[in-house]
Symmetry: C2
Subunit: 298 residues, 2 copies
Amino acid sequence: MADLKLKDLRYLVAVADTRHFGRAAERTFVSQPTLSAQLKKLEEYLGVQLIERAPKRVSLTAAGEEVVERARRILEASDEIVELAKGHSDPLAGRLKLALLPTIGPYLLPHVAVKLRKQLPRLELMLYEYQTDVMLEKLHSGEIDVGILALPVSMDGLDSCELYKEPFMVAMPSGHRLEKRASIKIEDLNDETLLLLEDGHCLRDQALEICSGAGLHEKQDFRATSLETLRQMVASGVGITLLPELAGRGAYGNARGVVIRPFAKPVPTRTIGAVWRKSTARRSVIMALAKQISGSAL
Amino acid sequence: MADLKLKDLRYLVAVADTRHFGRAAERTFVSQPTLSAQLKKLEEYLGVQLIERAPKRVSLTAAGEEVVERARRILEASDEIVELAKGHSDPLAGRLKLALLPTIGPYLLPHVAVKLRKQLPRLELMLYEYQTDVMLEKLHSGEIDVGILALPVSMDGLDSCELYKEPFMVAMPSGHRLEKRASIKIEDLNDETLLLLEDGHCLRDQALEICSGAGLHEKQDFRATSLETLRQMVASGVGITLLPELAGRGAYGNARGVVIRPFAKPVPTRTIGAVWRKSTARRSVIMALAKQISGSAL
DNA sequence: TAAACTCAATAGAGCGCATCTATCGAATTG
DNA sequence: CAATTCGATAGATGCGCTCTATTGAGTTTA
């Protein structure tokens, strides 16, 4: 035996409203025989007569009234679904959960916020900060939709694209011996004290990689928890550090007590990219977002 | 393009619950390809991706979550409809609106109540009292389901059946000249003063009809509003009246000051019957009710 | 590294059933 | 009595849901 059909409920409600099979059929865009037959089947399926068919007088039985009441609720909710889907059908709209590295977020966002709001006005970004491994985990689990971090990353089921290449710069206390240099070679850093972030930050690994071979020594018993504390430590003369270019700009870079200098060629850089699940349903908005960021970052 | 189908919503909810196409298909008693194809069509119809299909990992998009939420409500209500219909599907159960003539109701019901409760235990009777013309109107409009009154009646769209024939009896003050008679002929009532109900009561017309030809005169400026006031008037010696047999029995008939006597043959009677809309959905319970009444009344 | 396994998507066939047009039949109206 | 209204019935048609069989991508095991 067939089961309940939304269409049949529509027919029933139409009859309840019009008290007339012909007009109900018209309202539901089917022929009158179709509507009659379907309603008969509905009654048969439910095992109850819903409509009293008298000549020149159509009315509902008690059972019919109660069924119609539910049917209205159902049809309302089903229309809601369609409406709701319409709202979601703009691929460039809706809420997107975006995570950034702590060494990127505060410095990248001010650069792209205005352009993003203009180019993707219906996009509502939910922002998070995670270190690489946590971010990849949350990406995979669906907790976030996009991650922005340093490439390369390798994780099954994830796709990525490059956004921009970010040069590293040297941050030193003002008055430092290298302050006069326009650009700095790795070798110039020989014997300097290097300040770094705590474990887990990829920036720490990147800096160590760059400095490997040069004769730097990392400051013992110190691991900064953020670029900001790192900058303050540099300003206080404890040592030097490497900063990604975006973090060395603007208010951060012009802070008193710290001097920022570029590297001489070959400039060490890191590659920043966007990562998302291969299976994501938001590929189009993610690509649009990536395009805006790569066009605005540097 | 097709429209929303309940079955598809079932598929979607099953996937939301199991996060697995195969098990969802099992739960909804279709093959996995069927479920896959239908869900794809649902997404196509709504214009939104609802499910994220990753290898070894099925999850819902934000749109999917919202749709599922509504879908659950819809399916719940649709199950409610089926349940509700099941409750209504016992043709001998439910609420039946029954109207009786004022000259029948108080006297008939005590006779049949016990038997009715026993034979039709799931029947809930809503009782009303109306005079014939009002009753027919309310029957026609659907305000009541069955009427019990004196036949014949003629109204379009109504059906009727005979329940029982009710003899009339003579009610006279105790000490009346006819009190000694075991039975009474119409002609015996010559010169008596006849007390009757007010206009609108069919009993009034029936009594007048019976007495036409005999030399009775109706008490001027008096029209009783109920059989009860009529009986009290008889007891106070103002005149005599005709009572239907049921009203002459029991507590009513044995009341002090009133003597009830049967007619001699040919005994005048009225025919009591049940009336209902031809189009009623409750024919079976009405017939059952009629059967019980006609078996218990006299 | 190949083989077995998992799981959703695709292909193609079958047919149930919703839908149509045409017509009937009952009831009402002029 | 003819005309009209209105729901039910009859029979034909075709869409689309459903199935089985298979593919193919990805994962796990030997």
